[in-house]
Amino acid sequence: MKIIVAIKQVPERDAQVRIDASGKWIEEADIQYAMNESDAYALEEALQLKEKHGGEVAVLSAGPERVGTTIREALAKGADRAIHIDVDDLGQRDSLGVARLLAEAIEPESPDLVLTGLQSDDLGLGQTGVILAELLGLPHASLILQVEKTEAGLSVKRELENGWFQTIKLPLPAVLTIQSGGNKLRYATLMGIKRAKTKELRRVPAADLPIENAPTAVLEGVTLPQKQRSTQILPGTAKEAAAALVEKLKFEVRVL
């Protein structure tokens, strides 16, 4: 099975983000970057499918030069080769624009399966994967926790709300967007990093792809979340306070 995994590099979980002068993006200097979490699960799923059924896993990532570190991490974890779409203005492209870049790179590969994370940790739009399926003209399923190969194609487990799951079958080739947590991620190893040096990494400048950057959705601005404290002291005896707490948890916060 030939699998392509589209991965995105995002600011590290612990990164202290600051808004840049334009107010439309964050200061990119001094920030550490990492692989988007659900993309890491997509890669893990691809590697496990390859281990079970054979074939090849190629990773695909769009972004500036720094994306190379995340690509090498994917190669170190076991991907066979990589394609890097070299693009400096990813922040100014909408999901459709990014999906077009990815689709352009995927199409000539004619893979059996395309996997990607269900959404990015930085923008969280959750659109790229499904638009990609549309552009490639392939069936897709989103929020996938488990993938099994069957005679006819795939059987996948989707996560629904409130602890419900759905199992669906779909033919190959297909596009799946993967939810975090379905598998256990493997760790990168020294041996993997050393081996990764010899693997193929093909760079494709975005300018060479017949895609124009004409976003249909434009980012107006980004802001940091405002901190606020809203501690409430519930008065009365322990019993009364407990009853009031249950009331609030049930009807205001709706977690019970």
């Binding site: 202290q16 760790y187 190893t189």
Partner: protein
Amino acid sequence: MILFSFTLAEPQHFSIAEKLLLAVLIVTSGALFWRRFGRVVDRILRSKKDPGFHLGNIGRRVWEFFSEVLCQSKVIRQRPLPGLAHAFVFWGFCAFALVTLNHIAVGFGIGFLAPDGVFGRFYFSFAAVFALACAVGILGLFVRRFLVRPRWLGDKVSYESGVIAFLIFALMATYLAAFFTTDDAPAARVLWWAHTLSLLVFLPIIPHTKHLHLVLSPATVFLSRGGFSAIPPLAGDEDFGLVAGQDLTQLVSLQAYSCVECGRCTEHCPASNTGKILNPKEIILGVRAYLNDIGPQTEEPLLGKYNSQEAVFQCTTCGSCEFQCPVGIEHLPILVGLRRGAVNTGSWEDAFGTKLFNGLERGSNALGISAAERDKFVQKQQFPIFDGTQEYCLWLGCMGGYDPKGREIVADFARVMNFLGTSYGVLRKEKCTGDPVRRLGNDLVFQQLAEANLEMLSQSKVKKIVTICPHCVRTIQEDWKAYGTPPPIEHHSEFLARFSDQLPKPSQNQEKEKIVFHDPCYLGRYRNVYDEPRTVAATAGQVIDPPRARERSFCCGAGGGLVFLGEETGKRVSHVRAQELAATGASTIGTACPFCNSMFRDALGASNQPAPQLLDIAQLVARSLPDNDRSHSA
């Protein structure tokens, strides 16, 4: 009646037949010795060259050889009675070298030490004293091994040791008996031949048994890497640690063949003592068995048939084994080396370990908490940010920056520094030093962390570091050297001990308080710091030692990354140690490591007995500070 004379009887006039027989026996014995010993030497020499090894520091090597081999210092100090018995056997052998040479020479009619000459009379009597001591010593060791049978010598009775003991005893007895006869008595000749035969039978047995240590361990002690837990660098793109026979280095092979199977390592091992499968002696013997069966320069994995991966990952890296070993075996580079082999190639699969590695690949600390929490803590405590003007960089570490109890310790230590008027600042950002991943054998993540931290420290122009965590101290000072030049660092016990006369005085009640001090492995055995924390604790109360203290201290169970690996099998190491500390009757347990503190906090909490209070040495000092009323806001 046989009279005792101060003259050793030497038979004279050996016939040609006797001389021929002697020559044949010597050649046979020597050949049998070499047939086996030559193969051992060949396996050692065919092993990989040790990366980073050099024979520098001859002074240290000579001193260790003098102290540990010639004076038998470690053998005696750590097990006084059997140690002395062994030392007498050893010294007896040394004294006997000349006697033995002359003994054989006599057989060929070219004896060079006249028993009735001035030197001969002196030397043979001198050797007789040692022979007596040696005979008593070997008898004592025989009784210990076969009648007392301490469990760390193993379940199986070693019959070969019995044979060896008998031969050594025979050597001594036949020598001593020769003082009770005369040159021309037939008894002298019988004794001479009995002595010779004992010797020639003894020789070929040596390389077949653990008595190989007679020949190898002097070299092993002299050639040891030195330092403590000196983890060698990886050489080239194909070195991932100890994966297969081709990764065994000459030092590892030499050490494996030197093991005398005394079991001191096992006796002190926290894993072996709490029902885990790890037995450090068996690890070394596993490597030896591998070398015997498969040999170096092979691709057969080291973990599997000969050593188990599970055992290797039960090690807390407390270093008791390495400290105790009387023949110079460095267990930690071997144990960590086997872990490196498993982790660097991805063959170790463990949910907790993977979580730790992935967490440290992306995040900043081993506890997997957001770095923003550290920022909040720094703000709340109003710690000054290090800007190059302060004397010290106060390194918080994962425990000091994120763990509730660790934070209390750091906050109290900072208050003491304020009281002493020392200027310090904390870094805006810190990453884990990489201690847990270093000990678990993940060189990739360790390198990333060390390099990122070294970069931050050099940008911040840090000149001196002080920290509450012995693991940070060790890792920064020793392990980071592979990737740069770390600034000098000290543990807060060393810092506080320098100011011991300026520290606040305790109240009269507290002065009488009994504090039992627990030596952290990474401060004691790893750094050789035993007195400083006691000096500091003594400013706050009466310091007492638990039964196992100082270099024999028993681990808390946290080291080697194990604190992050979930539930243990068998008894919990921390419970065993906490009970030992509580049983001293002290009202306070004094600690000097935030990991020990955290382990004991949980262990004491799990016990039904009224628990002593648990305080770091910084907290012992801080509670007498004049501004104590506004403390503990961490």
